[in-house]
């Protein structure tokens, strides 16, 4: 049998987390079919077909799927499920919304947020904000799995798999899309960025966040993140939150500015390759996991650092 992977995309482009989730899907050992669900999503399907290791791309293209609402997308996946012994999705907002619905419709207990494939039926997943790692075995006939993409390397490109259209499933007609407010940004996306600069409560205002954190991010070509305290205070938008209950990231470089290092924050970034902390309190817990710590006032240090980086990059 085969493995079905739900692609993360916005119709026009394939989100890079898909290539990471593909690595987890391939580790199960069966041929992997990538399912692209959208409206006018041919470009995303073509991009998925290029990923190394993909046996086939399934394209479900219909106005019904324009916003990937949980009810119709879950119904579609269930209509395809008979051909698969594993169904995976990256742990994105879409994956987390849709896959448990699929699991329950199949009467299967989902394995959430895996960080390692030990065997085709055995997985590692973090619990308690990453303070413990559980190894679990699923005896379910169909494995339903979400993948913590930060823990897997991206599959390469160079393939040209076939794209096969699949039929639209019956619309459960329970929900309607009303609107969307998506920020447009030229910066890399937080979930898959190689470099991230995050700001905390210490920034004190949205203006400061904008004036201090964002220039450093732009000098580095980095994505911007934030602590929950900074988001709650309105300094940064909700979806910038890094942590146990926000986004989990593992970039090459994570710069934490004015962030104390609460366990809930660490849960979202402690697997970063290199961690830099800037904090005026030399006893802040963040220094216990930082590779490089700078003790001092961020309002002085960060502009200096921004200038140094700009110089270093010439």
């Amino acid at each position: 049998m085969a493995t079905l992977l739900l692609a993360e995309h916005d119709d026009a482009t394939l989100n890079p987390v898909t290539a990471r989730a593909l690595t987890a899907a391939l580790a199960l050992g069966a041929p992997v079919h990538v399912l692209v669900v959208g409206a006018g999503a041919d470009a995303a399907a073509q991009a998925a077909a290029k990923l190394d290791g993909v046996a086939e791309v399934l394209l479900a293209d219909a106005p019904l799927y324009a916003h990937r609402l949980a009810e119709p997308v879950a119904a579609l996946i269930v209509s395809l499920a008979g051909d698969y012994d594993a169904i995976l999705a990256p742990s994105t907002a879409v994956g987390k919304n849709v896959l448990p619905r699929v699991a329950a419709l199949l009467d299967v207990m989902q394995v959430s947020d895996i960080i390692k494939v030990v065997a085709p039926d055995t997985f590692e997943r973090p619990i308690y904000a990453g303070n413990a790692i559980q190894t679990v075995r699923s005896g379910e006939a169909t494995k339903v799995i979400t993948v913590r993409t930060a823990s897997f390397a991206a599959a390469g490109e160079g393939n040209s798999a076939a794209v096969r259209p699949v039929a639209v499933a019956a619309d459960p007609a329970l929900s309607r899309f009303k609107g969307e407010d998506i920020a447009q940004s030229d910066r890399p996306e937080l979930a898959s960025a190689r470099l991230i600069v995050s700001g905390g409560r210490a920034l004190g205002s949205q203006e400061n966040f904008h004036a201090v954190i964002e220039p450093l991010a732009d000098a580095l070509g980095a994505a911007v993140g934030a602590s929950r305290a900074a988001v709650d205070a309105g300094y940064a938008p909700n979806d910038w939150q890094v942590g146990q209950t926000g986004k989990v990231v593992a970039p090459d470089l994570y710069v934490a500015v004015g962030i104390s290092g609460a366990i809930q924050h660490l849960a979202g970034m402690k697997d970063s390759k290199v961690i830099v902390a800037i904090n005026k309190d030399e006893d802040a817990p963040i220094f216990q996991i930082a590779d490089f710590g700078l003790v001092g006032d961020l309002f002085q240090i960060v502009p200096e650092l921004t200038a140094e980086i700009a110089k270093a990059k010439g």
Binding site: A93, G130, Q134, S175, L220, D239, D252, K273, E282, G293
Partner: protein, 249 residues
């Protein structure tokens, strides 16, 4: 409109848990337990809908072993009207089984809205609400930052990657809460006293006819690979030098 709020008893978010040396699980004896923070947000939202005259009754339900009633009492002290305790031998019932138990309760109670937390901070599964919606054939508004019931529908604004999405759901519906939905109230002393007199009905998985045998086997629980602190640098220049050496610039 009646609202059902499932609340879970979890290790308090301030506790730094320890993994048992034999790998059999996490040390849970004599540890502070609290209501899952997302469930406090769920109770608060239900109470606000009642205070606004939209909801008529708020029922808190929890699945768990001895002392789970303390968590239901917390919901009652916040202002919920009554409780239902699905008593189990042990903690740690899997989300699919919890969803099946909640489905039975929903069938008995007939709520128009069930508000759950988006995830429990112990197992971080993020499944139960979506599974309950699937089992009932109801729509789901997950990761909600705004909930606005109207005639026969509820409009839910959801926190998604990149921003916000608003959906309109037919009632009855499932909503799961995100952090920015509201700020939960503290229970006042008089309300804590009043809560002691509010009824908590008890039932069991057997009475509800639900098989809660786990589907997943936990083979081991281990400490994550540790990370030790590095060095302090004195200036931005020194930091940039080190980052170059580390190959990340």
């Amino acid at each position: 409109m009646k609202i059902l709020v499932p609340v879970k008893r979890v290790v308090d978010y301030n506790v730094k848990i320890r993994v048992k040396a034999d790998g059999s699980g996490v040390e849970l004896t004599n540890i502070k337990m609290s209501m899952n923070p997302f469930d406090e947000i769920a109770v608060e939202e239900a109470l606000r809908l009642k205070e606004a005259g939209t909801a008529t009754e708020v029922v808190a339900v929890s699945v768990g072993p001895a002392k789970t009633d303390e968590t239901i009492r917390t919901a009652l002290a916040m202002g919920a009207d009554r409780g239902i305790w699905v008593k189990t031998e042990e903690a740690g019932i899997e989300p699919l089984a919890v969803a099946k138990l909640l489905k039975k309760i929903v069938e008995q109670e007939g709520p128009a809205l069930v508000i759950l937390g988006k995830q429990a901070i112990d197992d971080d599964c993020n499944q139960t609400g979506q599974m309950l919606a699937a089992l009932l054939g109801w729509p789901q508004g997950t990761f909600a930052s705004k909930v606005a019931p109207a005639d026969g529908t509820v409009e839910v604004t959801r926190e998604i990657d990149g921003g916000l999405q608003t959906v309109s759901l037919n009632l009855p519906a499932i909503v799961t809460t995100d952090l920015r939905l509201n700020e939960p109230r503290y229970a006042s002393l008089p309300n804590i006293m009043k809560a002691k007199k509010k009824p908590i009905a008890e039932t069991t998985p057997a009475e509800l006819g639900v098989d809660i045998a786990p589907r997943l086997a936990v083979l081991s629980t281990t400490e994550p690979a540790g990370r030790s602190g590095g060095i302090k640098v004195a200036s931005a220049t020194e930091l940039v030098d080190n980052l170059k050496k580390a190959g990340v610039l």
